[in-house]
């Protein structure tokens, strides 16, 4: 049994691996040179500059914040390289991935028509879907969150329903939305919307319910009501909660888009991954995963930054 599995794995992979060995070493050496060169570059900068104080401080900060991840990353890449370079490995090694995906990395914005476009376009297409779905979720989520945070009857009526619906996995909505919209594009957007909306609703409602009684009393004394109350008191007071909901929401929508696009098709990073799998382009999948991770990280940090700017003054009292 075990020998057949081994044989199969060997028979499927050795051809591409052996054919690219010269390229592999060529692509690998500059990368390792860069990795090795970075720390020494910091060290002299710390001691030689005329504004020694500032330079040394910058150098120290780089040393503290950049050095650990660089070391760990180099180690992990090394382990990956060693594990996957062995004959019979079912996954490509790091250098293998670099050489396989060279075209994709260097040309993120090529366009050969149809689905055959660069990774940049694929990611932008996914981001566009997320932008639509997430924006709708922000508007709907804040509105519903304010409703159930402000009115106890809405809370009692809607909260049990929301608590059940929010546990439904995003992809479970896809067949239903395909049936409803009869079109893949709005269906994908709907899946993003329905995924991102729950944390936004729940956090907004908690934020609204936690508006200090004092602020409400101030508003009542100056007779601040309706829309003006919403803008002047409710939104700023609940902003820290709302932004934590927005941050969870953006993360979830990016999680859902890849899965949704795998099923829906068209241009998009999710379908790119699925397409690569169908063509056995494992290196392309790995590159796409790295891009997906980086974009998700950037999205998360953007919302976090926005939240920090907006709520800078709300949190301290």
């Amino acid at each position: 049994m075990s020998s057949t599995i081994h044989l199969r794995a060997v028979s499927s992979k050795p051809t591409p691996e052996s054919s690219t060995t010269p390229l592999e070493s060529g692509a690998g050496s500059p990368a390792s040179q860069i990795a090795a060169a970075t720390p020494p570059e910091d060290a002299p900068a710390a001691s030689t500059g005329p504004e020694k104080n500032l330079a040394s401080r910058v150098g120290e900060a780089l040393l503290h914040h950049l050095l650990p991840p660089i070391i760990v990353l180099t180690l992990l890449l090394g382990i990956w390289e060693i594990l996957c370079s062995q004959p019979g490995s079912s996954l490509p090694s790091f250098t293998q991935v670099l050489s396989d995906t060279r075209e994709l990395i260097l040309n993120p914005f090529y366009n050969n028509g149809g689905n055959d476009v660069g990774l940049g376009w694929q990611i932008l297409a996914s981001l566009e879907r997320v932008a639509y779905g997430y924006s709708l979720a922000v508007i709907g989520g804040i509105a519903l969150g304010v409703l159930i945070g402000q009115f106890s009857w809405a809370m009692k009526g809607l909260d049990p329903i929301f608590q059940v619906l929010r546990t439904v996995p995003p992809l479970a909505w896809l067949p239903l939305s395909l049936a409803g919209f009869q079109d893949s594009h709005p269906s994908a957007i709907f899946v993003i919307f329905i995924t991102a909306i729950w944390p936004i609703i729940i956090n907004t409602s908690v934020g609204v319910r936690n508006i200090p009684e004092d602020y409400r009393n101030v508003a009542r004394v100056i007779r601040l009501k309706g829309v003006r109350y919403f803008w002047k008191i409710m939104l700023p007071a609940a902003a820290p909660y709302i932004f934590s909901g927005l941050r969870i929401g953006v993360g979830l929508s990016w999680l859902a888009i890849v899965a949704a696009e795998m099923l829906v098709g068209g241009v998009g990073i999710g379908f790119f991954i699925w397409d690569a799998w169908n063509s056995s382009l494992i290196s392309d999948i790995i590159l796409a995963l790295i891009y997906v991770g980086i974009v998700g990280f950037i999205l998360d940090r953007m919302v976090a930054y926005l939240g920090r700017v907006v709520t800078r003054s709300t949190s301290a009292s």
Binding site: D214, N217, V221, I222, R223, S313
Partner: protein, 267 residues
């Protein structure tokens, strides 16, 4: 019998929570004349703040009612502005904006933009806070926050100014300074003021009359002391003024002999 400026008539307050109901206030009657400074004093938990909240309209009395300048009070409004114990400034607004928010709501139609701006500055000047117009509450001290709270309340041009233990959270020196400020402003503006306090010296120093509440439950007005001291009052000169001492003794006797805090009372 002529009607007073502010009349609290037969106010009863019962809080009901599920099956439990507790009678907090019973039969509160008080008449306040225009320009009077009244202190409400009593032990913690006796319902002083409840009285103030009913006058403010933030709470609805279970029985009886409040009449201000011939009109019944049934909701909160800027004619009964409140200075809250913990200042209640909005932390995302600057000092100027906190006052501006109130001024814009109250005088948005009756004053022009320039007039509103001048009015905001004038009130902040009154409490000596013009040096920190663009600071946020987190950046100023507790005493300064309370000054801004007072400026915001005054800027509404209230018929009655309601002070809910305004100096309770401040250290003794800051408190004394703010008390002097409030007395100075009172002489200038001649407001009608209702102040909650648990500090006998503060009550005697600031008030024309001290209204003393009995202990709850079912607290009511036990006694009222008039403080016939001329204004302006100087705290140092009053230290051995016989009238001051007499009033202080009467209040202390009421609080610690006739209506000593029940052993079970919570801090």
């Amino acid at each position: 019998m002529t009607a007073s400026y502010l009349q609290i008539e037969n106010v009863d307050m019962t809080f009901t929570k599920g099956q439990k109901s507790s009678n907090v206030l019973r039969n509160i009657n008080l008449k306040v004349e225009r320009g009077e400074f009244i202190s409400l004093i009593g032990h913690s938990g006796c319902g002083k703040s409840t009285v103030l909240n009913i006058v403010a309209g933030l709470l609805k009395a279970s029985g009886g009612g409040v009449i201000l300048d011939g009109k019944e009070v049934n909701e909160p409004g800027p004619d009964r502005s409140v200075v809250f114990q913990n200042h209640s400034l909005l932390p995302w607004l600057t000092v100027y904006e906190n006052v501006a928010l109130a001024v814009e709501e109250v005088f948005g139609r009756s004053k022009s933009k320039a007039e509103r701006h001048d009015w905001i500055l004038k009130n902040l000047e009154l409490v000596h806070m013009t040096h920190a117009l663009h600071k946020r509450p987190a950046e100023i001290s507790g005493g300064m926050k309370q000054r801004v709270g007072i400026a915001r309340a005054l800027a509404m041009e209230p018929k009655v100014l309601l002070l809910d233990e305004p100096f309770g959270a401040l250290d003794a020196l800051t408190r004394a300074k703010l008390q002097d400020e409030v007395m100075r402003i009172q002489i200038e503006l001649q407001n009608t003021v209702l102040m909650i306090t648990h500090d006998v010296d503060e009550a005697v120093l600031l008030s024309d009359r001290i209204v003393m509440l009995t202990n709850g439950p079912s607290a009511t007005i036990g006694d009222i002391i008039s403080v016939p001291l001329p204004r302006p009052r100087m705290r140092v000169e009053l230290v051995d003024d016989p009238i001051y001492l007499q009033c202080r003794a009467a209040a202390l006797k009421f609080l610690y002999e006739r209506h000593a805090a029940p052993a079970t009372a919570m801090g």
